[in-house]
């Protein structure tokens, strides 16, 4: 309970807030406060501000094509930020998420190429490997009771090393061979990395997947028993266990969900670029975590949404591309991100304090 500090003030609050003695009646909170208590409100305003800023500062952002690029950039972060956010609401985080994307892509690519089989075989095996890595993280966490930082730092290092070593062993190179002429490639590309025209603008299909996954995640989080369990295991693990929530199942499946996201993004990279660089992905895990935190998810768990990280990822994509369109030095990107992250955290803190305290 001590971890969920923002919820605590009410305990010490004077009982005068409502005539507690006579039946425990409480006041209805004002609608404005209740709106502010929603985790995605702060980040929505932030995303809006960044958008307006670049619409003014960089005129070329106003073109449809630029917007499609911004959305594409956002979607590749956003698809991973969603399961990372769910995991964070469930009280854990995954440092191996970045390299897991590359592991998945390498598995599919090398397996298909070396065995000369249909790429779909590689895609399916990669899915199993990714889900397996997620399950391993979750299982280790639950069995040992170690913090997720340590467990996933271990898998992060393992996967990073294995990615490089195995790729060199198999291909004699740091990148995989081009698989674009193999059976099933075009089908897979259509699913993971195609684009379609909307009003003369080419939009990447990942944008659609991103929004579909976000809708699905929102529904699961707010409308299913599983979503209820995610909030509960992140909010107070022991209370959740005491009332019969399957804590182990919930945590392990959350890690597997991150594995699924890594697989999806990995397949997108493979089928967009035809080859995979084995050393990539390092540092991306922090971008996903930052997008989730900017999106209003509480790092210690128990609070957050799936919509928030959508806006969080959009802020990243917007700043990343906006700096380029504005003609500034792209080196400023990371500095910008840091400021955004701190700003978002402070806004979220203030919002939650204001909203929860009566």
């Amino acid at each position: 309970m001590s971890r969920t500090e923002p919820a605590e003030p009410a305990v010490g609050a004077p009982p005068a807030a409502g005539p507690v003695g006579s039946g425990g009646r409480t006041r209805q909170r004002p609608p404005a406060l209740r709106l502010l208590a929603r985790p995605e409100v702060g980040v929505f305003l932030g995303a809006l501000a960044v958008l307006v800023f670049f619409l003014i500062a960089a005129p070329s952002v106003r073109q449809g094509g630029s917007m499609a690029t911004v959305l594409y950039q956002s979607s590749t972060i956003g698809i991973m930020a969603l399961p990372v956010a769910l995991l964070m609401i469930g009280g854990e985080f995954d440092l191996s998420a970045g390299v897991a994307v590359v592991t998945s892509a390498l598995t599919a690519s090398m397996l298909s190429y070396q065995l000369t089989v249909n790429v779909w075989t590689g895609v399916l095996v990669a899915l199993l490997v990714s889900l397996g890595a997620g399950a391993f993280n979750g299982w280790m966490l639950v069995r040992t009771g170690l913090p997720s930082f340590l467990v996933t730092l271990g898998t992060f290092l393992i996967l990073q090393g294995v990615n490089l070593a195995v790729t060199k062993l198999v291909t004699g190179n740091v990148a995989t061979d081009d698989i674009s002429d193999m059976d099933g490639f075009d089908q897979a590309k259509a699913l993971f990395a195609s684009s379609f025209g909307v009003g003369g603008v080419q939009v990447k299909i990942t944008v659609v997947w991103w929004l579909v996954f976000a809708a699905l995640a929102t529904w699961v989080l707010l409308r299913t028993r599983y979503g209820n369990w995610v909030f509960a295991v992140g909010g107070d693990r022991e209370s959740a266990r005491a009332v019969g929530v399957p804590v182990t199942f919930t945590k392990v499946t959350l890690f597997m969900l991150v594995g699924f996201g890594a697989w999806f993004v990995g397949m997108h990279q493979l089928f967009s670029f035809n080859t995979v660089q084995s050393g990539e992905g390092v540092g991306q895990e922090l971008i996903y975590i930052a997008a989730a935190v900017i999106g209003g998810c509480l790092l210690t768990g128990g609070h957050g949404s799936a919509v928030g990280p959508v806006f969080g990822a959009f802020m990243f994509g917007m700043v990343n591309q906006g700096i380029v369109y504005a003609g500034w030095n792209p080196d400023w990107f990371k500095a910008f991100l840091g400021v955004m992250l701190l700003g978002a955290v402070l806004v979220n803190l203030w919002v939650r304090r204001t909203a929860i305290r009566r």
Partner: protein, 306 residues
């Protein structure tokens, strides 16, 4: 675990109605040994429907061990533990819950950041639809939670507010109402008033009385004799793992109870020692209100303590 548990308490109460005199939960000479440490020994306790059994005792007296046995966290190692007259030995809290025995812990009650209605149904959510479209039946859960809370006398206008915004007493009450709704026949309340102020304690005591009115057996664990005496029908005082006192309300006064709780015979012995040391005017000290109740034969643990 889901919808079928709804309203179980109604049927359960039917069952227990004819044998209202028969205890739901009964301990006969029960005890528990952890390795070489005897935490509890020779304890008798009977919990009847519609009655509040208070268990009092100082820190380390064995209260926790007692509730751990009844709530299924630990197995007893001696004596008998009967539910509805049949001997049992629970291996998990889930088994105890299935028999209608629910423990409400001070710190294990609720998830603070979650709304009241989600907390109420946590772990036993109501759903509608099938297969991939199986979803929470939010309207029904909110309605049921509101009804149950109102029956217990808790009126909340906004079930969406996080439980963390409720007062400590109200949170405890939400946990009690939840246990009652999910078919509890026996409620074990572990020091529900320990961390609460005077006013908040009053709220909780009121809900204990409400639970009794609904025909539940309540085991109320506390070290506050005043709280116990306000709602209790039967009082057991534990000392060093054995029963020092076991008395019905009609056989005991608040003074006697307070005396036993405050150290009882131990204080009397101390008084005699102080008289020998001198310097203390023993006559000024309060008189020992000699209890007119039967002491369990086995218990004379006071002398053993130096």
């Amino acid at each position: 675990m889901t919808s079928e548990t709804t309203g179980t308490h109604a049927t359960v109460r039917e069952d227990t109605a004819p044998g209202a005199d028969r205890p739901v939960v009964e301990l006969r000479g029960a005890g528990k040994t952890y390795g070489t440490i005897r935490a509890l020994h020779g304890v008798d306790l009977a919990v009847h429907p519609g009655r509040v059994s208070c268990v009092l005792g100082d820190n380390g007296a064995g209260k926790s061990t007692l509730i751990k046995i009844i709530s299924g966290l630990h197995r007893h190692t001696e004596g008998e533990f009967l539910v509805d007259g049949a001997p049992v030995s629970f291996s998990s809290p889930r088994e105890a819950l299935d028999r209608g025995i629910a423990a409400v812990y001070q710190d294990l009650a609720t998830v603070p950041l979650m709304p009241v209605w989600r907390n109420f149904f946590l772990g036993s959510e109501l759903t509608k639809g099938t297969g991939p479209f199986r979803r929470l039946d939010i309207a029904r859960m909110k309605r049921t939670a509101d009804e149950e809370l109102r029956t217990m006398g808790i009126v909340l206008d906004d079930l969406e507010q996080p439980v963390g915004t409720l007062s400590g007493g109200q949170r405890q009450c939400v946990a009690i109402a939840r246990a009652v709704h999910f078919g509890a026949r026996v409620l074990i309340l572990d020091e529900p008033t320990a961390a609460l102020g005077v006013k908040q304690s009053g709220v909780v005591l009121k809900y204990i009385a409400a639970a009794r009115e609904r025909g539940l057996g309540v085991i109320f664990i506390t070290h506050n004799p005043h709280h116990a005496y306000m709602v209790g029908d039967h009082f057991s005082v534990l000392r060093l793992g054995t029963l020092e006192l076991s008395a019905a309300r009609s056989e005991i006064t608040l003074d006697t109870l307070t005396h036993h709780m405050a150290g009882g015979a131990e204080l009397t012995a101390l008084k005699h020692e102080l008289a020998r040391v001198g310097g203390v005017d023993v006559d000024e000290l309060p008189e020992d209100p000699e209890p007119s109740v039967q002491q369990p034969a086995a218990s004379d643990p006071v002398e053993g303590k130096s």
